[in-house]
């Protein structure tokens, strides 16, 4: 009997081709939207987390507890002392791939009569290259080597100051002893990361000159550690606590794993919640569209069901037939939805969605909050989990939609079904 029901269900979907086509189309479009939206949200979350790890947290970040608390205002005097020695010791620990010392400070960047405030990052050029990949983002000039007084400057910042490669810039700041100090630098290269805040405010200088301006030899504001396995960051953090508490490197030195970073640990979950709510609304819309379409295809067939019942089909068999039909339609729609949505997302995963172009360059460049590390190009991230969950969601909603009308029609007497006002 089961095989007959299956055959009947399959046959029914080809009986009214137009009706079946539009029902499958509704499910396909809904599932396609779901796959794309899920991949897009996943892409934003992953992209922001990766940039935060590359640019500000490493896998583990060492700093003073006061610097950690006031990181947004970057207190210059909050330094990890003897950071060269500490870096050497950390490098020798198993599982450590890279260690980077940094000084960070706000300074006045001046060219001729123009001056603009900027965020100066002093780090080893070789290490910036390895973990930030700034050398791949150069749009003019060459990558600096660290031996000369050279800087790398963001594209928007360079445009604001009217700076070209080989031009001279003056960096002026107050050092850790509240003396005002200035050094001239030559622009070695101009970079474009696609992250407005970085391109608009940041300037990279070799670590030794950053320290010279601040008057803090052998000290750093941050030590970023990159591990072979980032999932071991928390474990690594507890492992180095004893080294940090020796007192050699300062009174209160802390190590923070990337998961506990302000962006990744606090801001991202909030962002994720917002996106999950948006995704919930998309799911609801998709569900309503599928429910509505499936409901209609059962309700408009009450008379046909009456005929089948008059011919001797039992209520259970009518119910199974309708559910089977919904199962077939849901499966076909979900397959197409996953294929089209997945294909579209996979294509965008390679090309990216350029928001700067869509929103207009000027409008986009206004969004330059330090913690919002959203690039101008978003790359969706299609995962197997998204494909499977969307596929089964399509089938589940299709079947769920017909349960009630299927039950109702299966219980109807043939005469009642004939009297039904809903007709094709």
């Amino acid at each position: 009997m089961f095989s007959i029901i299956l055959k009947l269900g399959w046959k029914n979907i080809s009986r009214n081709k137009k009706r079946t086509f539009f029902t499958i189309l509704a499910i396909t479009v809904g599932i396609m939207m779901l796959v794309f939206a899920s991949s897009y949200i996943q892409g934003i979350m992953n992209g922001t987390t990766e940039v935060a790890k590359r640019m500000r947290t490493g896998h583990v970040k060492i700093m003073t507890s006061e610097y950690s608390r006031l990181e947004r205002i970057m207190p210059k005097e909050e330094l990890v002392l003897k950071s060269e020695d500490l870096t050497d010791r950390i490098r020798k620990i198993d599982g450590v791939k890279l260690v980077s010392q940094m000084v960070k400070f706000n300074a006045l960047i001046s060219k001729d009569e123009l001056n603009e405030p900027g965020l100066v990052v002093g780090a080893d050029p070789g290490i910036i290259k390895m973990h930030m990949g700034i050398d791949d983002m150069l749009i003019s000039g060459k990558y600096f080597n660290g031996g000369e007084k050279e800087v790398m400057i963001g594209r928007i910042f360079a445009e604001k100051l009217g700076v070209m490669v080989n031009d001279e810039l003056l960096l002026v700041t107050t050092d850790i002893n509240y003396s005002t100090y200035a050094l001239p630098f030559r622009v070695s290269g101009i970079f474009n990361t696609g992250y407005t805040y970085i391109d608009k405010h940041m300037i990279f200088v070799p670590l030794k000159f950053g320290r010279e301006i601040l008057d803090c030899q052998d000290s750093s504001h941050e030590i970023l550690i990159y591990l072979d396995d980032q999932d071991k960051a928390a474990e690594f953090t507890s492992g180095i606590k004893s080294i940090l508490s020796e007192g050699i490197y300062g009174e209160s030195i802390v190590a923070v794993p990337w998961e506990d970073d302000e962006i990744i640990g606090e801001l991202m979950p909030m962002v994720k919640q917002v996106w999950q709510k948006i995704l919930g609304i998309i799911l609801l819309i998709v569900a309503i569209v599928i429910l509505n379409t499936m409901l209609m295809i059962v309700m408009e067939r009450y008379q046909e069901i009456g005929v089948l019942k008059a011919l001797g089909l039992k209520s259970r068999e009518v119910f199974s037939m309708i559910v089977t039909e919904a199962l077939f339609i849901g499966t076909i729609g979900s397959v197409f939805g996953v294929l089209l949505g997945g294909g579209f997302s996979a294509w965008l995963e390679k090309t990216g969605i350029n928001f700067a172009e869509m929103a207009g360059k000027d409008m986009w460049e206004k969004f330059d909050m330090p913690l919002v590390l959203f690039g101008n190009i978003i790359y969706p991230d299609l995962t197997l989990e998204i494909i499977i969950s969307s596929f089964f969601f399509g089938i589940f909603i299709s079947v769920l939609a017909v349960l009630y009308p299927a039950y109702k029609s299966s219980k109807m007497l043939p005469a009642e079904a004939f009297r039904s006002k809903l007709k094709v």
């Binding site: 006045l108 009569e113 001056n115 405030p117 003056l170 003396s179 005002t180 200035a182 050094l183």
Partner: protein
Amino acid sequence: MKKIKIILVLIFILLVPKVAAEDIDPFDILSKIDSNMTFESAYAEMKMIITIKKRKITKKFKSYSVGNTKSFIEFLSPVRDRGTKMLKKGKIIKIYYPSAERILRLSGHMLRQSMMGSDMSYEDMTERSKELREEYSGEMFQNEVLDENECYVLMLTSKIKKQTYFKRKIWVDIKRFVGVKEELYSKSGKLVKVSKVIEIKLFKNRYYPVEMIMEDKLRKNSSTRIIVEKIEFNIAIPEDMFSERALLK
């Protein structure tokens, strides 16, 4: 009848000082302070003690000035500041940094930055009563006694929306015509800076503050004390002292 007379006398006593204060133009008071404190020329040796949390940093400098529009400052210590020179001509400020051997002309938001790490901004150095009259509207409050000295109390409110200090409350010593205290407020009403004169000395029939303290309330536990160690008035200062050449010397 006697009672009425007493009441009238009391009303008169209470009202007279208020009416008198309201009749005075606050900007006239500020102009008088400016003229009182402006000498033809002056040479001074000063020190600035910056206190931030538990740290104290002392900076010494000498200054030459002509009127209230031209001044030249050279920092003598500490080592990292030695040789830093500042030239102010009207609203224009130029600084020579010996470490870079370059001159920087300050403009825009840079003027609002801390001057040599102190609680004072470069903009604070350039203000004069003439500009205050153009940019603020003023009113007089009831006189107050501050450190045993009777003071006029002036309240200036900016006519310009984007003013660094939207409101300024100024206490002026009535007898010596010296501004003895000033509170600076942002547009939201937040107290941004407070400056107070600690000591005033008499020079050639004119009173001049020789010690003052300024607190930038946006910097936690911070204050800057400026002490005049030596001052000479109406001395001969060569005109080229106020030139870029003097900065580069």
